[in-house]
């Protein structure tokens, strides 16, 4: 007779890999209290994770992301989950990947230096198609930089930080409410596309308090991964059924899946000396995101001049959009034709949407809290159709609306 090691807590409420139900969602809502709360971005991320069914958090303290771990260490035991402080950020990503493979929705949160350490294992998550969410509360770099100051310096790293060719998804919230909403979306995208999803908040939103309305169960969609539909003998963990997204067998369910970061065949076993296997695998890893761009990408178009030409465009994302909103109002009051594109999905980059704007814009102003990151993506998408005016700022302070107004007017 087969026997597993005696586990005296079989009746325990500690069950991070348990399926997430309406009852679980409502329990989280009861624990969080009022429907309308006044919280900071790091808290909104934590609340969003719990409402999305995250029951596993592993992290390492780092300013300005630490509050997420603090809040979840208090709340996860109340919902049967687990919060563990690991020995570093490398271990944190390792733990969330392991947890995801064992059936728990999992997340970690960090900032620049920790995000740099995580890159190898993020590549592993991409290669093994393991859903997980990594929150990067961006701070001013390089290196230790300005720990308490916000920045947007990790946009390129989020996409290109690990070696080799892969695709992942990265989202940029602008408000504290959006920190919550996009955390739920991040989990849904991770589960849908079997991919690590990066939530790019920053030290400003992370520590800023704003009004947040918590959703009801009927308001949100909670997605769970595609589990095997084939019998165990026929199941192949990396088989492409035409959707480019393989089914995922959870460890302990009897499917005996072998998962490796080596180039692998559809069976999961290494195929390191096979050029066709490698090419097919890496193409599929990239194509499952690239061919689903339309479904993944979210932007906010404020295009009142869509039917005229010769407008001025502004492209923003994340916290910078807050100053842009104000500047756009001022400029329009002064009679200028302004179209504002707010990028919500940084990766995959919304190049079609940028190109669309560039067709009727004289110039596009791109404010960001770095020395030119999204600027390069915009330049590629615009392909010379109009001028691009970068507006770079570092040091931990946001652009003021008047700085953006001046840049748009060309008087800055």
């Amino acid at each position: 007779m087969k026997r597993q090691k005696a586990s005296p807590e079989a009746e325990s409420k500690y069950k991070p890999a348990k399926p997430f139900t309406c009852e679980d969602f409502n329990r989280v809502r009861r624990i969080l209290g009022e429907r309308v709360v006044f919280i900071q971005g790091d808290a909104a991320v934590s609340y969003g994770a719990l409402l999305a069914g995250c029951r596993f958090f592993a992290g390492y303290p780092i300013t300005p992301a630490t509050e997420t771990g603090e809040i979840l260490s208090r709340l996860l035991p109340k919902v049967g989950g687990i919060c563990i402080q690991m020995e570093d950020e490398i271990a944190s990503v390792g733990a969330i990947i392991g947890a995801s493979r064992a059936g728990a929705k999992s997340m970690t949160a960090t900032s620049g230096p920790g995000f740099s350490l995580m890159q190898e294992n993020i590549g592993y998550a991409a290669m093994t198609e393991t859903p997980c969410v990594i929150v990067d509360v961006q701070r001013s770099g390089p290196s230790t930089g300005q720990p308490t100051e916000g920045a947007q310096g990790d946009i390129m790293q989020a996409k290109w930080g690990s070696h080799g060719d892969y695709e992942l998804i990265a989202l940029s919230p602008t408000t504290v409410q959006e920190c919550l909403d996009l955390t739920i979306e991040a989990f849904n995208l991770a589960e849908t596309y079997s991919v690590p999803v990066i939530l790019l908040t920053d030290g400003i939103i992370g520590h800023m308090r704003e009004k947040v309305v918590l959703p009801e169960f009927k308001d949100v969609e909670i997605i769970w991964r595609k589990e095997p539909t084939r019998p165990k003998e026929e199941f192949q963990p990396f088989f492409d059924d035409g959707t480019k997204i393989p089914e995922m067998a959870i460890f302990g369910t009897g499917y005996h899946t072998y998962i490796t970061g080596l180039t692998h065949a559809e069976s999961g076993y290494p195929a390191t000396d096979s050029q066709p296997d490698h090419h097919r695998l890496v193409r599929r890893l990239c194509d499952k995101i690239r061919t689903n761009r339309e479904r993944i990408i979210r932007v906010e178009r404020d295009f009142p001049n869509a039917h005229t030409d010769r407008t001025t465009g502004i492209i923003s994302y994340g916290v910078t959009s807050r100053s842009v909103y104000n500047a756009v109002k001022t400029l329009r009051r002064e009679g200028m034709k302004i179209d504002h594109l707010r990028i919500i999905t940084n990766w995959p980059f919304p190049e079609k949407e940028v190109a669309e704007l560039s067709r009727r814009a004289d110039r596009i102003v791109v404010p960001e809290l770095n020395l030119g990151q999204v600027y390069h993506c915009v330049r590629e998408a615009v392909a010379g159709r109009c001028d691009i005016v970068p507006l770079w700022k570092t040091g931990g302070e946001m652009h003021t609306p008047s700085e953006i107004v001046q840049a748009v007017k060309g008087t800055g």
């Binding site: 007779m1 087969k2 026997r3 597993q4 090691k5 586990s7 807590e9 079989a10 325990s12 409420k13 500690y14 991070p16 890999a17 329990r27 009861r30 624990i31 029951r55 596993f56 592993a58 035991p77 109340k78 919902v79 049967g80 687990i82 563990i84 690991m86 020995e87 271990a91 944190s92 990503v93 390792g94 733990a95 969330i96 990947i97 392991g98 947890a99 995801s100 493979r101 064992a102 059936g103 728990a104 999992s106 190898e120 294992n121 592993y124 460890f251 302990g252 369910t253 009897g254 499917y255 005996h256 899946t257 072998y258 998962i259 490796t260 970061g261 080596l262 069976s267 076993y269 290494p270």
Partner: protein
């Protein structure tokens, strides 16, 4: 005996992975055989057992077992294993690692896992060098040992992995060598059955990598060397203090077996105390 071996092969080995990548006279096969026999003796449900590994020769082992396996990044196997165990405490988690993977790049994770005491069994194939990349110096290479990155002899003091595990608080620690497969298997079985972080170091021949540079060219040389240079814990303890001081042999056997609160058991209590209905 033959039927038993056949039973283990048919029941646990992944049939599509042979021949293996391992060199002639490599000791890793013995470690795998010990581990599978231990699992069989402990009557683990293979459907609920997950094998995790990092990078290196020994870390290829999960691929040869017909079970759930996670072949992870270099040095990080224990962190992934921690995630698996904490997400589903009903699973048994067994980590295969090597001296470079565990004590070199992964040293920090190793000591923290020993301290944290999450239930898992870590089996370390210690072959005194980085075999897969071509016999480089490792954190366990003995002083004077010739490796491809210590061509004039190693001048660094090596880690004693079991002492490190004991120092970091691992409740179950054993050291054996492939020359004693039965004892190795029994130690693995004990480690698997014990609900704690268990560490089993197995001194393993690497004739093609380390051995041929260090007068241990054949598998047999290694086995004789292991026999000659190891001493059982109980025999060692009978030595006088003076004899102990002059004893240069490696002490093998069950080096620690104590009861400590295990992480998932403690976390269960914590959850049951704070859970909101």
């Amino acid at each position: 005996m033959f039927r038993k071996a056949q039973h283990i092969r048919e029941k646990y080995l992944e049939q599509n992975m042979w021949p293996s990548i391992f060199c002639q006279a490599c000791g890793i096969g013995t470690v795998l055989s010990c581990a599978l026999r231990a699992i069989d003796k402990a009557r683990l449900d293979i459907d609920k057992t997950v094998f995790v590994s990092g990078i290196g020769c020994s870390s290829r082992l999960p691929g040869y077992i017909d079970a759930d396996g996670l072949h992870t990044t270099h040095g990080r196997a224990i962190t992934f294993a921690t995630g698996i165990k904490l997400a589903n405490p009903e699973l048994d988690v067994i980590v295969f690692t090597g001296d470079g993977d565990l004590a070199g790049i992964g040293g920090n994770h190793f000591i923290h896992a020993a301290r944290r005491n999450v239930d898992m069994t870590v089996i370390c194939v210690n072959n005194y060098n980085y075999g897969m990349t071509g016999a480089q110096l490792s954190p366990t290479t003995p002083v004077g040992g010739i490796a491809t990155t210590s061509p004039y002899g190693n001048i660094e003091s090596p880690f004693d992995l079991t002492a490190l595990a004991i120092g970091a608080g691992a409740p179950y620690v054993a050291k054996w060598t492939t020359v004693y497969p039965h004892e190795t298997m029994l130690a693995m079985k004990k480690g698997i059955e014990k609900r704690s972080f268990a560490f089993i170091e197995v001194l393993t021949p690497c004739p093609i990598g380390y051995g041929r540079r260090n007068k241990l060219k054949h598998g047999k040389d290694y086995l004789l060397w292991f026999k000659k240079n190891t001493i059982g814990k109980s025999r060692y303890e009978k030595l006088t203090e003076e004899e102990k001081r002059s004893c240069e042999k490696i002490v093998i056997g069950e080096l620690r077996n104590v009861e400590e609160p295990e992480f998932t058991a403690e976390w269960s209590k914590l959850v049951d105390e704070h859970f909101v209905e």
